[in-house]
Symmetry: C2
Subunit: 340 residues, 2 copies
Amino acid sequence: MQRVTISQVAERAGVSTATVSRVLSGRGPVSPGVQRKVRRAAEELGYQVNSIARALRNSRTDTVGMVVPSISNPFFTSLVENVEHALGQEGRELFLCDARSDPEIEARRLASLVARNVDGIIVSPSHGTLSGPAVQETADRLPLVQLDRFVGGTSTDWVGVNDVAAMRLIMDHLHEGGARSAAFVGSLLTNSSTEQRFAGFQRRAEELNIGVDPEHVLLGDYSVDWGETAAARLIEAGELPDAIVCADDLIALGVTRVCRRYGVDVPTRVQVTGYDNIEFARLGEPALTTIDQPRAQIAAEAVRLLDLASRTGTAERGPSAHIALVPTLVVRDSTVSGGA
Amino acid sequence: MQRVTISQVAERAGVSTATVSRVLSGRGPVSPGVQRKVRRAAEELGYQVNSIARALRNSRTDTVGMVVPSISNPFFTSLVENVEHALGQEGRELFLCDARSDPEIEARRLASLVARNVDGIIVSPSHGTLSGPAVQETADRLPLVQLDRFVGGTSTDWVGVNDVAAMRLIMDHLHEGGARSAAFVGSLLTNSSTEQRFAGFQRRAEELNIGVDPEHVLLGDYSVDWGETAAARLIEAGELPDAIVCADDLIALGVTRVCRRYGVDVPTRVQVTGYDNIEFARLGEPALTTIDQPRAQIAAEAVRLLDLASRTGTAERGPSAHIALVPTLVVRDSTVSGGA
DNA sequence: ATGAAAGCGCTAACAA
DNA sequence: TTGTTAGCGCTTTCAT
């Protein structure tokens, strides 16, 4: 099963390899007659470009790499889908990597993407500080934009959502629903998402005079399991706050599940909010009130920034872009809505 | 930001490029002294292999491609994770593509993977027949194994689960729980998963004398939405069967949700089963009884077959392997378990 | 409009 | 043990 090369096509068409290349890549002038001959020969032989060879020659792979903290988190897969879509045109392909929330694996992935000469990288860093060196190093070598999360000590483009504004939306809504005290369940403060969200939570809680018992700030990881653990801890400690604000939907799903199990009614006894608006958010019992991130827009912006960076050259191109899009509050049944 | 090449390293170390190559790839004999010199030079220059060049030379990319019908289906992402893990050793990378359940996109992805010279491909074909040509063509060019689903009219390796046996497990369990009639909610019969599952369902239903009203076979797609639609249709038509067997967990999640909404108790009024045991299956209300596929094993087998195929050469290597692993029944709260 | 030839960065014969 | 050299398949000057 030898692969067909350009020179076999050339031979069959009775022309030079240069001509074949010109025809197939549509660059350079070729007479219609020869064009046809070449195309037919290629067709008959079942020719397909060897993009490795092409990439070596062009030093462009028409490939972008994407690294996410966890491919099993529906929010990220949805982001991936959107990026793929945004890339979809132009025949560019996405090289997807899962960092398993581990900065070391992440660093390896990044290095491997660089080695594979992707044209650019979109990364949502796993860790708020540990991801720094690898991300910066990578960004020094090729166009890179951070998505959703970002890592301190780096100067790269970023696009995501205004977490602080999102938290304000949530807190205001909870406050209207009568909440006068709240808990926060998030991941350890090792990534920007939680940091920002927690900061936003705290600030607005203070402004609204919503009490936050220090014991009611529970930090674990982004998972249903952690949500369950945290909720059980809150419930068993007694003194449940009026609301439990979760750093993402997975956590919130775990929290509501445990509430159900303990017979703690949501939202009348305690209001619960999520974040991300993953598909399963609406499937919770009750359906989750959450924050919707404009994923398509985030993805589109990321691709745009990447293209921009590629064009401008990795060299100096002024300060990096920092694009915070506007989140939306999606009110469902896990909170007390206005009318109630 | 020029990339460092091997010859720059060679120059700095005062040796030939061949020597550098030998040191860096660990092949061929090099004296310890020179080794050190080369490594230091490489280090100082921040050298990284250009795997494009290496791939062109070796006609191996140390990369395998994976194509799944939908990256937003947790079952497939979980499969991806497992494959990645199985590959994880040996420094091989996974090139992940989402076919969006569209055979045309799928064909493009496959072609692109071939063009990119991946060493092998793992694919779960979207469509039971339409995916055929592309899959076969791809398999003719390089090692390919089908995962979970397979497509008719192809002769490639396959590894998945014994769907018929799984359905027997489910039906027997439902029967024990008192079910004497059942509905089936699946996707249109355009992929092997549904085909097999439905066949298994029907056969065992017959054997157990479980009645299946032809009106109670509802075919749509693998999504929560479809589960909801189908359940609503069943409920509104009256004459609910004793059990609703779903072709996957997403559908089952939709079904149970609608039952809840309509006040139809699961499992006392109607038993519901899923398939795949995705993480969210246990989060349903009630938690889903479902089929667990040995994903890690499936992934490991797939990788093994791929390696085998690579070694043997794509040429004749006897009949293709067809490995059906044994599924497990996971009993939760959506069915009437033995004791009840 | 077409062809000859150089070379992208790497590795593997083959020599020395 | 080390260096020289010939390509992998493609694109792109530079001639013609």
